[in-house]
């Protein structure tokens, strides 16, 4: 079920909210928790009921294993090893086996046929959430809890499909806190506000940008010219941000409707002044996960500068693979690994950079990496990146030729741009969105502004909500659902 669907907004959400608060009103906290758990499982099964047993099996297995590790004295390491092996094997089989086979075939090391596997939705999110939990139980940083609380921690519907990746420390106590089961108009209002902001980002912005992005990346143009390549890259940079941060806003907002605080996942990432800063602002819960469960266990910065840079590089490559089974993701991760290494080395030089230059360089680097991330193949990525550095020439629409023909002296060509859907109004829209992402505060800031003019804000949000509802028929899935 999509957050941006009629079924979710008109049926699922009111029903779960109604039963949850009825249980709260009757002081039936266990039933309220159970409502949320069953609701979350239904939410997951609505996509494809075949995946539900897999999810339940994964939860039960990890719940039992966590208890075994917690109570075990002598075999803790072995049990942890078993847990990691089973979880990672399951993930590898579902998500990476065909990629592995295609790579072997490509390198002519084998001639294997592909396995027919349907990728369970959100598998990366729920697998890594549980791996982190097992590791923390092993290190005695986490307590075990009841099955309902644990099941909720893994499945609670606002985060289940596309994060934020939850940490048990942030969540388990909330499932048992009496505050969770009390009505809070503050949480409810802030929750709705964030939910509407997120919906608006997705439906009104990201989905419209998708129509501009798709032709550049998906139509397999032989050469993407300079302007089109940049417009495609900028549009995708904005689309991904508004899509994913829209999802995260909705997830946090939905959590607040149930008095639960999910971790913030975005903090104006395109305002970052370095790549290090970018990763503290973009998909924060994943960055924290990679730091705590990959980078630090690999040695972090404990074994000298070279080892630190190597660990950073490896962590980012693995982070790339986490996003998907494909070489574009590997190279995207590698790019960010290299950027981070360069960033750390640059810091050693102690050469000051103005804020504007630092932000621009960071944004350009991020944008170029997004081109690789979005491209269906490395050939397409190479084509667009070549276009961005001017190797495919500059081409303007043929209708501009009568007015700008003198530009041909400077190497500008005029041609029918079959796959370019950019119009003047799109350009203005993109400029506005760039300004919003670069200079305006984010939704977390605005959600604290209810004290000023609550009625006007309420009516404005209602109008936006009505507009969004009227547009739901043409919306699409969130980009991060595929990961």
């Amino acid at each position: 079920m999509l957050f941006n669907s009629y079924s979710f907004i008109f049926i699922f959400l009111p029903l779960v909210l109604g039963i949850f608060y009825l249980c709260c009103y009757l002081k039936k906290h266990e039933q309220a928790r159970l409502t949320l758990l069953l609701g979350s499982l239904f939410f997951y099964a609505y996509w494809d009921i075949r995946f539900l047993p897999l999810l339940c099996l994964s939860i039960c297995f990890n719940f039992i294993l966590a208890n075994v590790i917690y109570r075990s004295e002598g075999f803790r390491r072995i049990w942890l090893f078993v847990g990691l092996t089973v979880n990672l094997s399951f993930l590898f089989y579902c998500k990476y086996l065909n990629f592995f086979i295609s790579s072997l075939n490509y390198l002519s090391l084998a001639d294997l046929s592909f396995a027919e596997i349907i990728l369970p939705l959100g598998i990366s999110f729920f697998t890594f959430t549980q791996i982190a939990y097992l590791v923390d139980v092993y290190h005695k940083k986490a307590e075990t809890s009841g099955l309902i609380s644990y099941g909720l921690f893994v499945t609670i519907f606002p985060h289940l499909i596309a994060g934020p990746i939850l940490h048990h420390k942030e969540m388990i106590h909330q499932f048992n806190s009496p505050d969770t089961f009390r009505w809070s108009s503050s949480n409810f209002a802030q929750g709705w506000f964030l939910f509407i902001v997120g919906l608006f980002k997705k439906v009104a912005i990201a989905d419209n940008l998708a129509m501009l992005v798709s032709p550049i990346f998906d139509e397999q143009m032989t050469q993407v010219p300079f302007i089109q390549a940049w417009l495609g890259a900028i549009s995708y940079t904005l689309q991904l941000y508004f899509d994913f941060s829209g999802y995260s806003d909705m997830a946090i907002g939905l959590g607040l409707l149930f008095n639960m605080r999910l971790p913030i996942n975005f903090n104006s990432p395109y305002q970052a002044t370095s790549i290090i800063d970018f990763w503290r602002r973009w998909h924060i819960s994943l960055s924290n996960f990679l730091r705590d469960y990959l980078y630090i266990p690999m040695g972090g910065n404990r074994f000298g500068e070279v080892a630190k840079l190597r660990n950073l590089l490896l962590t980012m490559v693995l982070g790339g693979i986490w996003h998907g089974a494909g070489w574009t993701f590997v190279f995207w991760g590698l790019c960010h690994g290299i950027f981070l290494v360069v960033n750390h080395l640059w810091k050693k030089l102690n050469i000051p950079l103005s804020n504007g230059i630092a932000r621009s360089l960071t944004l350009i680097a991020v944008m170029m990496a997004w081109v690789i991330f979005r491209s269906p193949s490395m050939e397409t990525a190479e084509n667009i990146l070549k276009g961005m550095i001017g190797m495919n020439g500059i081409v303007l629409p043929v209708s501009y030729a009568p007015h700008l023909s003198y530009l041909t002296d400077y190497g500008v060509a005029f041609a029918a741009l079959e796959y370019s859907r950019f119009r003047a109004e799109n350009m203005i829209g993109i400029l506005c969105l760039i300004a919003v992402t670069l200079w305006l505060p984010n939704s977390q800031f605005w959600k604290e502004k209810f004290h000023q003019r609550p009625i006007v804000l309420g009516i404005a949000c209602a109008v936006v909500m009505a507009f969004i509802i009227s547009s739901l028929g043409t919306t699409s899935e969130f980009l991060y659902y595929q990961f």
Binding site: S186, H451, G458, A466, I469
Partner: protein, 334 residues
């Protein structure tokens, strides 16, 4: 439970009251007009009796719902040529079976196949299927229409997502307003769902320019040819009488295809398809495409591409052997 002095409560109150007011207003209007014909709201002459856009943006939604509702035993599939050119009553008179015009503007064969399966799912006793084929229906580059969705096919009910969209969607609202305007201004009483008679603007020049652009990069979709084979097999299996034809158009249309060098590809496609199932070919040069028959008094076309129901009736009569006033019109390719 709420404190009116609390800004959060005031926000919530104003938010919910406003959103409910807007949605109830839009929803009631759309429910009343029922622009896609899916609520079966009573019809009022001059207000919502004739639903306008059965061929435009919502044709696929409209047709999916109509097939569920009507469960026709005989159905015509094809593009706007079928929509404009075939009165289902003509077919009903010929074969004495309740018939439906399932045409959808600019449809490709993947969509036709989807709606064929949908029709069969909802009417297992489907007896007759007539398909008007177009060259573009097999073009690899012609994607499915944005309003086409496999999710609404081969099911026996309209999904609740569709119902909500028909109630609150902005396109539904726009369509409701159009329906009211259409009913207030349209005087043509001969109107049935799927079949839209009435004059089309004469825009031959633009149309021909579009044909050149459209067919210039035509590439056969083997997947869709395979779907055609699948459809034929399914019809044989279910003992459905399948008639397939290639629509007539004025000679200028065919000359344009020749001019851009796509005639051999068109001929090859006809050979490929007729090797799978016999096809009536009404294209090329004959007394209808040259408009020679117009001297008998009946206008034949709206413009160079879309023929009138009179020609549609001639096609049906020819395929069913009912009458044949123009022997050069239509050849059976086997």
């Amino acid at each position: 439970m709420t404190n009116n002095h609390n800004p959060h409560s005031r926000f919530l109150l104003s938010f919910f009251l406003t959103v409910c007011a807007i949605l109830v207003t839009i929803g009631s209007f759309n429910l009343l007009i029922d622009p896609y014909n899916i609520f079966e709201t009573p019809t009022w002459h001059g207000i919502n009796q004739k639903k306008k856009d059965t061929s435009g943006h919502f044709a696929r939604l409209f047709q999916a719902a109509e097939i569920i509702k009507l469960k026709p035993q005989a159905i015509l599939f094809g593009s706007s040529r079928v929509i404009r050119g075939f009165d289902p009553h003509d077919l009903e008179q010929l074969i004495q079976i309740p018939s439906h015009n399932g045409g959808m503007s600019g449809t490709n064969f993947e969509e036709i196949y989807g709606y064929f399966e949908h029709a069969l799912y909802n009417q297992p006793k489907l007896k007759t299927v007539i398909i008007g084929l177009d060259f573009f229906a097999f073009d690899k580059r012609r994607k499915n229409s944005p309003d086409f969705s496999w999710n609404r096919l081969s099911i026996s009910h309209t999904s609740h997502e569709e119902y909500f969209d028909a109630l609150f969607g902005k396109l539904a609202l726009k369509e409701s307003l159009k329906v009211v305007y259409f009913n207030l201004t349209e005087k043509n009483n001969k109107w049935t769902i799927g079949f839209i008679p009435g004059d089309l603007p004469e825009f031959d020049e633009k149309y021909i320019a579009n044909v050149k652009k459209e067919y210039g990069k035509w590439q056969v979709s083997l997947y869709r040819v395979e779907l055609f084979r699948k459809l034929v097999e399914k019809c044989r299996e279910c003992q459905i009488d399948l008639k397939v034809f290639i629509s007539p158009a004025q000679t200028v249309y065919w000359d344009t295809i020749r001019e851009i060098g796509m005639w051999p590809a068109f001929e090859q496609l006809k050979r490929d398809l007729s090797a799978i199932h016999p096809i009536w070919d009404f294209s090329g040069s004959n007394c209808i495409t040259t408009k020679e028959a117009e001297k008998d008094g009946e206008p034949l076309y709206y413009e160079c591409s879309h023929f009138r129901p009179y020609v549609g009736k001639l096609i049906l009569n020819k395929m069913y052997g009912a009458s044949d006033p123009y022997p050069t019109f239509g050849v059976l390719l086997e």
